[in-house]
Symmetry: C2
Subunit: 184 residues, 2 copies
């Protein structure tokens, strides 16, 4: 750990610049492979493990134990609330990714932010999933995200919300993604 | 709780049939609005709260306290590993949703499953997020999902993996989604 380091929005300002310079010098270090594994428990209850990933041209070894997160369903969807529903989990990831994108890219530009809160709503018609209505669509029909940013002018807020939309997960949702599936 | 209820794959078999019949009778109960809120803490660390949702023509009140999940980044992405990275969180939601879709829809068809494990890898090139390469793309470039299903023939496995692909999150990822963003 360096001491006397300038931080902005909680990020090490010098490290942001060094990371960008390193990627410009060798774009391969920008390639990340992120991973998760999952084990079905019973009914709508299953458990994910998140630990290693590849990035910066190396396997990451900084996590001594995996993050363990449970998915379940509420009773109306035949589960027992032992974890959030997977669709809610994705909404949580979306808000987190947009928030980090905003605060990190703002820090890279020297823009300090006092506070950020956000809220998201997503519409799903489960007729699609159940195969009851081919017009219903199977995924989210619409997702609505609302941010509150403290300590920024109207003009800065517009700039910051544009930075939030650089988010990998925001862009994953608004674009079609190649998802390959295999079974053994 | 009913007793002497037949369960299949951990789901109440009778409840599945009743739910489908109720939706056929009144499709409005299939409309769900799922939600999350999030508060930035510092740097790449932020915290989501998941509790209420609308579905079955009513507000759900079964969760006495919210699910609380933290997002953070690993050190190479300028964080402190206080939670999984939001992109990993989305992969966790994807595996959970595909697993529940498979086991629930199999139960609806009377297909018993012994066990399911899965693994996912997703590629992100952070040049896109950082604005360093317009050709890099900002979201996941490709996601690869692999399932292991215990106690099923090859033919059953192919049928089960098709059921997994009814998943709302799988379909959210492979299709472009309307994501509305506002700031206050």
């Amino acid at each position: 750990m360096e001491t006397q380091t300038k931080t902005i929005n909680g990020f090490n300002a010098e490290a942001i610049g060094k990371t960008v310079a390193a990627i410009v010098d060798n774009p391969k270090i920008a390639a990340f492979e992120l991973r998760a594994t999952n084990t079905w428990i019973t009914g709508g209850h299953n458990r994910s493990f998140i630990q290693g990933f590849y990035g910066g041209c190396q396997e990451d070894t900084t996590r001594e134990v995996p993050f363990v997160y449970d998915n379940d369903e509420p009773p109306i969807l035949l589960g027992e609330n032992k974890g959030a529903n997977p669709a809610e989990v994705v909404l949580h990831g979306l808000l987190g990714c947009m928030t980090t994108s905003m605060t990190l890219l703002a820090a890279a530009q020297g823009i300090e932010i006092e506070g950020v809160t956000s809220r998201v709503e997503g519409d799903v018609d489960i007729q699609g999933f159940l195969g009851l209505n081919p017009n219903a669509g199977k995924g989210f029909k619409q997702i609505r995200v609302s941010f509150e940013i403290q300590g920024a002018s109207e003009e800065e807020k517009q700039k910051l919300i544009a930075l939030a939309q650089q988010s990998p997960i925001f862009n994953t949702l608004i674009n079609p993604i190649d998802v390959q599936v295999e079974v053994h």
